[in-house]
């Protein structure tokens, strides 16, 4: 008999396909797990809609559920319930340790260019805030590129959404 706790444990082992240091549970994209006999229904919220990893994440979840003897049903929730604020504290620390600056907290008003151009962002390598915006976009839609003037290292900054 498959349990919700076992499913959560299994999902916590699935790495993000783009940034494998962090798991889907760390990323906060699993909104709910509902087990009814063999049937396992997972509510999954996409991060960025343009993220190429969404299908891979869905496939990996289905595979893990089947390995535990369950019949997976992954419901993709297309609403505004995911935010970068849902990344767990452990997830944020794993990101930072891997050289990705975690996202700033979401504010009531949408972020502005002038905020991105400010020195409010900390270098994940040396901790300096003497950093500048290089590009609003990066290797994936979720990240910006910054440069640390202090340790002369470029780094990727998670966008806040």
């Amino acid at each position: 008999m498959v349990t919700a706790a076992a499913i959560w444990d299994a999902l916590a082992e699935i790495p993000d396909p783009e940034i494998p240091v962090i798991s889907l549970v760390d990323l906060g994209v699993i909104r709910n797990v509902d087990v009814s006999q063999q049937r396992v229904r997972i509510e999954f919220t996409p991060t960025f809609l343009g993220c190429p990893a969404l299908e891979v994440m869905k496939g990996a979840m289905e595979e893990r559920v089947r390995a535990l003897g369950g019949e997976p049903e992954v419901d993709v929730v297309l609403d505004d319930s995911w935010s970068t604020d849902r990344i767990t504290p452990a997830g944020r620390e794993k990101l930072r340790a891997a050289g990705f600056a975690p996202p700033a907290a979401r504010e009531a008003a949408p972020p502005k260019l002038i905020q991105l151009q400010s020195q409010a962002f900390r270098c994940p390598y040396c901790g300096s805030t003497d950093t500048k915006l290089e590009n609003i976009f990066g290797p994936t839609p979720c990240r910006s590129l910054r440069y640390c003037t202090s340790c002369r290292q470029p780094f990727e900054q998670f966008k806040t959404i």
């Binding site: 996409p46 960025f48 809609l49 343009g50 993220c51 190429p52 993709v76 297309l78 609403d79 505004d80 319930s81 995911w82 935010s83 949408p110 972020p111 502005k112 260019l113 991105l116 290089e134 590009n135 609003i136 976009f137 990066g138 290797p139 994936t140 839609p141 590129l145 966008k159 959404i161």
Partner: protein, 215 residues
């Protein structure tokens, strides 16, 4: 077709075709940072199209892929503004980007206030991502503001930008951009150009090569 499905398809088609046009800059943008930025914006627009098609597909009993690729060119509901091939003309590309993002913001604000919770929820999600597209467009518009080629491109494309929006939203866009609200519309939905046909030929080429295949 329901009003909701029609509305979703219009926006999805705008985003897909514009995303496709933006992707033509991959590898030929004026500098590497723009290659990265424009490719990322293109990817995001196509992602928005996918989500909108998925919602429409549930209503229409089909799939997002079938809506995106298995219709004939005259069935697309995109506006003329997104159809033009501007790869190699940066002034026009940025003028379109700036006008489109401003119009899209007006449209998304209205959708976020919709009584339809699914439409409002998806619009809110898309809007959070579009914030970064708008920042990028504004940054470039500021840089090119005094450049005659950019100004001319804005004037040329403005009647097509107005045609993106339903009538009751056009005044808001004109006020925000300080452009005339009484311009005669051009490139209205359904008036497709030859440019859409050639884009469609290329976009659906692989899928049409093996009809009905599971990819």
């Amino acid at each position: 077709m329901s009003e909701r499905a029609t509305q979703l398809l219009q926006i999805a088609d705008d985003e897909l075709i514009l995303g496709w046009r933006d992707s033509e800059w991959t590898g030929i943008a004026p500098n590497l940072e723009e290659d990265v930025a424009f490719s990322s914006i293109a990817q995001n627009e196509i992602g928005h199209a996918r989500a909108l098609y998925e919602l429409a597909a549930r209503d229409l009993g089909t799939t997002a892929d079938e809506l995106a690729f298995d219709r004939s060119p005259d069935e697309y509901r995109c506006a003329g503004l997104v159809e033009h091939r501007f790869a190699d003309d940066w002034a026009r590309t940025i003028a379109r980007h700036w006008l489109y993002e401003a119009a899209d913001a007006v449209r998304l604000e209205a959708l976020k206030a919709s009584d339809d919770a699914e439409v409002a929820g998806l619009a809110a999600k898309i809007d959070r991502e579009e914030v970064y597209h708008r920042m990028h467009a504004e940054m470039w518009a500021d840089r090119l503001r005094d450049e005659p080629r950019f100004r001319e491109a804005v004037d040329e494309l403005w009647p097509q930008a107005l045609a993106l929006l339903p009538e009751d939203q056009r005044g808001t866009l004109a006020t925000r951009l300080d452009l005339p609200s009484n311009s005669l519309l051009q490139g209205e939905r359904g008036d497709h150009s030859e440019e859409l046909t050639s884009l469609w030929e290329e976009m659906t080429m692989v899928r049409r090569s093996v009809p009905g295949a599971a990819w």
